[in-house]
Amino acid sequence: MTALGLCAGFASASPLGKVSSHRPRLSVGPRALARVEGLAPGDRAERTLELRYRGRFAAVMLRTRTSGSSLLRSNATGLRLVVERCSKRWTRKRGTRSYSCRGKRWSVLKTIRVSGKRKLKLKHLSRRAGRTDHLRLTVSLPRAAGNASQGQTTRVAYRLIGVAAG
């Protein structure tokens, strides 16, 4: 940051002229997803996201973080996540919180443990300036989760990290 700040100041007085950069920006909406209640083993909860690009990105990664002391965070029987993309907005099925895709559908991220801490590269995203990707997150509780997983709560944060294209 120091180097860039010096450069900008220095460049304005140089034959190169003013140097400015437009940082590519990734944004997601909504910032807060609807709460999931009463999840039982074998249940799934679907939520949709709009991922917007200002600038081009070479890659987008996802990192999930869970908080709270809960068996929902366990590796063996904790929450699982799948991410898919639809070429059109996901359509909510009447009277449910399920969403269907009326366009082309891609698998963005195959089943992972929500409690995993690794950054995972997302596939089949457009990553182009001005575009919006329509994503569906499906969180599920494995059927193997037993009685000990009852009445548990955890907060899940999804952080999407974009690496700008050169």
């Binding site: 460049a11 799934r44 919180r97 050169g166």
Partner: protein
């Protein structure tokens, strides 16, 4: 002959020139590293699992025994099953086991038989000896079968979280029971087990 004299001003000029060179290099380097710019954004939500609960009461007469029963006698006992959790049940089963066993429970033909009915409202109790009538509608939860059994499926239960089923358990000593079943005593335990509904989208 030209002489080079180092003056304070000259030094300052050299330092400025050096900074300029450094900054030019940094500017070029900065342009080159634009490819590593990153941007992040985040969203979150809270996820809570539900609870599944199967309890009995307030009515529960299953602990009340019967003595001196004869062939052809029946014993009726009421029990309320409560589905107190937040997750609906998909099914319920009954396991009955004899902790003190005699031919009363091992003779599957002439020994004790079990049937269970449900009333849409609480059973009206009379006695003891207890008998029950239903002022609502009745349905069969378990057709007559030998008293002892494992994971026997129950039918027509509500199973919805927050609801209660009013059951009447009827134990009968068949009229075909012979003298060999006289003066015997069995102790039978009842275990109701609920299993959650199938997975759904929440």
């Amino acid at each position: 002959m030209r002489r080079h004299t180092l003056t304070p001003g000259a030094t300052t000029n050299k330092v400025i020139a050096s900074i300029a060179v450094l900054c030019a290099a940094a500017a070029i380097a900065g342009l080159g590293t634009f490819a590593t710019f990153t941007s992040s954004t985040s969203t979150s939500h809270t996820i809570a699992s539900g609870t599944l609960s199967l309890t009995s009461g307030p009515t529960n007469r299953l602990g009340t025994g019967a003595s001196a029963i004869a062939a052809g006698d029946t014993m009726q006992r009421a029990i309320d099953l409560n589905y107190a959790g937040t997750v609906d049940l998909g099914s319920a089963t009954l396991t009955t086991n004899a902790t003190t066993s005699t031919a009363l429970d091992t003779d599957t033909t002439d020994g004790l038989q079990l049937a269970i009915d449900k009333c849409s409202v609480a059973w009206t109790e009379a006695g003891p000896p207890y008998t029950y009538t239903c002022s609502g509608s009745t349905s069969s939860v378990l057709a007559s079968r030998p008293l002892v059994g494992s994971n026997v499926a129950l039918s027509n239960l509500t199973l919805t979280a927050g609801s209660t089923d009013h059951l009447r358990v009827t134990v009968t000593l068949p009229s075909t029971a012979g003298n060999s079943l006289q003066n015997l005593s069995s102790t039978v335990g009842y275990t109701f087990t609920g299993v959650q509904r199938a997975g759904t989208s929440q």
